[in-house]
């Protein structure tokens, strides 16, 4: 793991970055799905 940021901090940053999806609500939904999929991965 990066010494600088935890996975949760990275995920929060991912939610804010607009380059992969411009819509805030969609980003939030997809990041939530990513969290549950990572638990199952």
């Amino acid at each position: 793991m990066s010494e600088e940021k935890t996975v949760m901090e990275l995920l929060e940053e991912l939610k804010k970055e607009t380059d992969w999806n411009p819509d805030e609500k969609t980003r939030e939904t997809l990041v939530r799905r990513l969290i549950f999929s990572m638990i199952e991965g």
């Binding site: 793991m1 990066s2 600088e4 940021k5 935890t6 996975v7 949760m8 990275l10 995920l11 940053e13 991912l14 970055e17 992969w20 999806n21 939904t29 997809l30 990041v31 939530r32 799905r33 990513l34 969290i35 549950f36 999929s37 990572m38 638990i39 199952e40 991965g41």
Partner: protein
């Protein structure tokens, strides 16, 4: 003219789709529909049937939709459980994990048990399940998260886009199947049982067996903590009364009634009741045998659960739990593979005669179809055609 014909077919298929959905909802409320609904449970089998390979389809949506849906033209179905590849391989690869992998047959996908939580970490799991499972567990499972910042962030970005692609693939397949065949998806959002999260993802067979004896209080508290998050996640995915939320249940068959009552049932029963309160019911794939737990299922209000049997006998289940639960079952895959066509048809008739009266029944195979050789295709075609014609109320 072609466009008008296409629209006519689409509107005919949409009518068929709506009739099929109505039949499913009717039978799941223990009323007699027009016909016994027939459910498909094809996963990788759809790829095997088309002769394609999984890897080539992961990166080609158009080809995936064409190939995966090819069996619908040959096999009669009213509804289907699961569409497409189902496993987020692009996410797994983006995070450089090897937990899921494509088998040597180049079609089926397998999973290695990967449960890296230590027993002394229960208090952290209980305190904040999601933060613990991300900061501790995910970082143990996914090598890409160890890369220096911002490379690890880029890996997560690739992973989330891969996940979005998978959702897009499934949506494209569902659309094709609805428009071309009028076949409905029966399940949508996932309802994950808390004890199964611990069993499948955190502690595994050995860990859970030890925890039930040595750390029962931690285990109970962890289930409660996970319940909050998994229930909320399921609620976010609910879309009215249909399609149903789904659980594929794993650990109960290994527990026995005492441990089932103590560890599995309290939080999972709460989930089932909450889903019922929200106006729908839960479709459960009851892996292994659930016969030891039929008394627990009879505690539920009617029309709270749709139970897809695996190792249990549908006729006996109809008698013992059929007033409360919609029974989903039919001809075993083994009989479809090794039996004659007549044996399969005789078995299907026996099941329909016993399970269809009064509604509360959906016909399917006992197990999901994975590999090309799982059934003799002529048996499956004949059985579904027979049930479609014979299963009229």
């Amino acid at each position: 003219v072609k466009e008008l014909m296409r629209r006519d077919i689409m509107s005919e298929m949409e009518k068929l789709y709506q009739e099929r959905v109505q039949d499913i909802i009717t039978t799941c409320n223990h009323k007699e529909p027009k016909r016994v609904p027939i459910m498909g449970k094809m996963s990788a089998w759809g790829i095997a049937y088309s002769g394609a390979k999984t890897r080539e389809l992961i990166y080609n949506r158009e080809m995936l939709v064409d190939k995966w849906t090819s069996f619908f033209k040959d096999i009669y179905l009213d509804c289907q459980f699961g569409f497409g590849i189902g496993i987020p391989m692009k996410m797994i690869w983006a995070l450089e994990s090897e937990t899921f992998f494509i088998s040597n047959d180049e079609v089926t996908i397998q999973h290695r048990e990967n449960t890296p939580m230590l027993v002394e970490e229960y208090p952290e799991l209980i305190k904040d399940p999601i933060a613990f499972m991300m900061n501790k567990i995910a970082s143990r499972k996914f090598p890409a998260l160890h890369k220096p910042y911002p490379e690890n962030l880029e890996a997560l970005k690739k992973a989330v886009l891969g996940l979005a692609d998978l959702a897009g693939d499934s949506a494209a397949i569902i659309k094709r199947v609805r428009e071309q065949y009028g076949v409905a998806p029966i399940v949508r959002s996932k309802l994950y049982a808390p004890l199964d999260v611990i069993f499948d993802r955190l502690r595994g067979f050995t860990g859970l067996a030890v925890d039930m004896r040595r750390n029962p209080d931690w285990l109970i508290e962890a289930c409660e903590a996970l319940y909050q998050h998994y229930m909320k996640n399921a609620e976010n995915g609910l879309t009215g009364d249909y399609p149903f939320p789904v659980t594929t249940v794993h650990c109960p068959t290994f527990l026995g009634p005492k441990n089932f009552a103590k560890f599995f049932w309290p939080t999972y029963k709460k989930m089932l009741l909450r889903v019922k309160e929200l106006g729908t019911q839960t479709f459960i794939f009851m892996e292994g045998s659930w016969k030891p737990y039929y008394d627990f299922l009879n505690e539920l209000p009617p029309n709270c659960m749709i139970g897809n049997l695996d190792a249990d006998d549908p006729i006996e289940a109809k008698k013992l739990i059929g007033d409360k639960i919609t029974i989903v079952g039919g001809v075993p895959v083994n009989l479809m593979r090794y039996g004659s066509k007549q044996q399969c048809l005789d078995h299907a008739k026996k099941i329909i005669d016993a399970c269809a009266p009064g509604g509360g029944f959906i016909f399917t195979t006992d197990k999901a179809l994975l590999s090309a050789g799982d059934v003799k295709i002529e048996n499956l075609i004949a059985v579904n055609e027979f049930v479609h014609e014979y299963g009229v109320y």
